[in-house]
Every structure is written in C-alpha cells, then in structure tokens.
Homo-oligomer: 152 residues x 2
C-alpha cells in the first residue's frame, strides 16, 4: 500500500465501505419503482420460488415480525400473495403475483442500469466489464455461503 494511501482515510480502499455505498446506489435505483431495499430482497427471494414466512426470516437474517411487516405492505400493494398451507395450517405460503414479478423486473433493470452507469465512470470498457463481472463472482460466493449455512 502506498504512502499516499496510508495518509488519508479517503484513499484507502475498504471493502465494507464500498459495499455500503453500492447498496445506497441500489436503494436509490429501486426507489424509482417505489421499493425499499428490504422489499427488493424479499421479492428477489420469492422470485426463486414460493416460500414460507419462517424460511424467509432465516434467509433474510431478520426476525419473524419484520417479515410480517414487510410482507403486509407487499400484499397490500398486490405484489405478493399469502395463502395458508393446506397440510399445516399454521404455515403461510408466500408467492409473487404477476404484478410483483413485473415490479421486480423493473427494479432489477433500474439497479443494473445505475450500476452499469457507475461502472462506466471507470476509464475503460474493460475495467467497467471487470467491475460488473466481479459482482457475478460475489453472487456465486453468496450462493455458496448460503448453501454452507443451510448444511450446518
């Protein structure tokens, strides 16, 4: 690490801070379709298949009442459908509606466009491409991480 980097906090690359700022950009992007980042995460999970409320809480790393609160808003907006499970009526099955699917896709596009615009600030298309590819690497890492947690 260079002397200049050691002198000023602003110039030291820091992975946590970088991820925190990327998230803010995503928040701004999905806000354009009136989604919070929490709502966006939940819709993304439901896009991978319907889910029980309990399993959502675990995957999202939040407590059950938080899931209830966010889902309430999504159900009111008609983006998610709540149905009691037939075999165990304590359980609640959640799934995306067509409208939810469509809003999620719009959010995905808005976020991707914003991130691509930011990556475009790097001088070369090669660097920009590497930045986007890097996110795909993190996607794989997060999937592997979740799988490892589920096995435990």
């Amino acid at each position: 690490m260079s002397l200049e980097q050691l002198e000023a906090g602003s110039r030291v690359f820091n992975p946590g801070r970088t991820a925190a700022w990327l998230a803010k950009q995503v928040e701004l992007a999905v806000g354009s379709v009136d989604l919070s980042i929490s709502q966006y995460r939940i819709l993304g999970l439901l896009d991978q298949g319907s889910a029980m409320s309990s399993s959502l809480a675990e995957q999202l790393a939040v407590r059950p009442p938080s899931v209830t609160a966010v889902i309430d808003g999504l159900v009111t907006r008609g983006l998610v459908e709540r149905t009691h499970s037939e075999d165990d009526r304590r359980r609640i099955s959640l799934r995306l509606t067509a409208e939810g699917q469509s809003v999620l896709e719009a959010a995905d596009r808005a976020a991707a466009e914003r991130l691509e615009h930011i990556a475009g600030m790097l001088g070369s298309t090669r660097s920009s491409g590497r930045a986007m590819d890097n996110l795909s690497l993190w996607h794989q890492a997060l999937v592997a991480h979740r799988a490892a947690r589920e096995r435990r």
Copy 2:
C-alpha cells in the same frame, strides 16, 4: 446465457440483487460493533475529514433532518463532535472523536473479515482474491461518480 439460467430466476445473475445482499452482510458485520449501515456510512465520510452537515446530506443522498437524527445518536455515543463554525455560526462542523475513529476501524475490520469469509466460499484462493481485489474497482467507480456529480 444457458437454458438452465433462463429457466430459474435464482440462477440468473443480477447485479442489483447481489449488491443488496452484500449490503446485508455488511449490515450484519457492522452490527457487531453496534453500528447501523447509515451510521457506518457517515463515520466513513467523516474519516475523510470533518464536514458540514449540509454537505453530508448531499453526499449521503438523504435530507438534512435525517443527518441530524443519525448524528444525534453518534454524538450521544461520543463518536462524533459537533462544533459551530466560527465564521458562519449557522454552520455546524462535524468530526470523528478518537473513540469514533476506533469504532469505525473495528467496523471496517468486521466487514472486511465477513466479506473475506464469504469470498472464501468460492472454490479457489485465486477467485477469492479476485473478488476482494475487484471490489476496489467499484470503490474507484464510486469516487469517480461522486466527482462527476459534484462538477455538475
């Protein structure tokens, strides 16, 4: 893109969703030193030098009252110091205390460790290294993006 990827939403790489989940991991990490991600962003900005409240709001992309609220908590905890500017007494200068500096460093370490652990779930040390190293590209892109916005 393969057929398998087209079939299931879960397998399609999506930059926005990835960034949203990375942020959740950072949130969990900085929570270990009792910081929210908003507090973490603010401490990170103040680490780059003292700042006026108004300029923080702009950089954070939030409204002035939100800055007041978050700073209130940080001042109460002794992590940030508020002083009236001498030349224009309407303005408020904010800077990190030694304790704030130390908590921020602990948060940085916790976030970096968590991200490194997740990157470690990729098969090879080479991939893990690339994931971490290329996050610095995003750091550069975000710095360039902010600079471009300031010029406008």
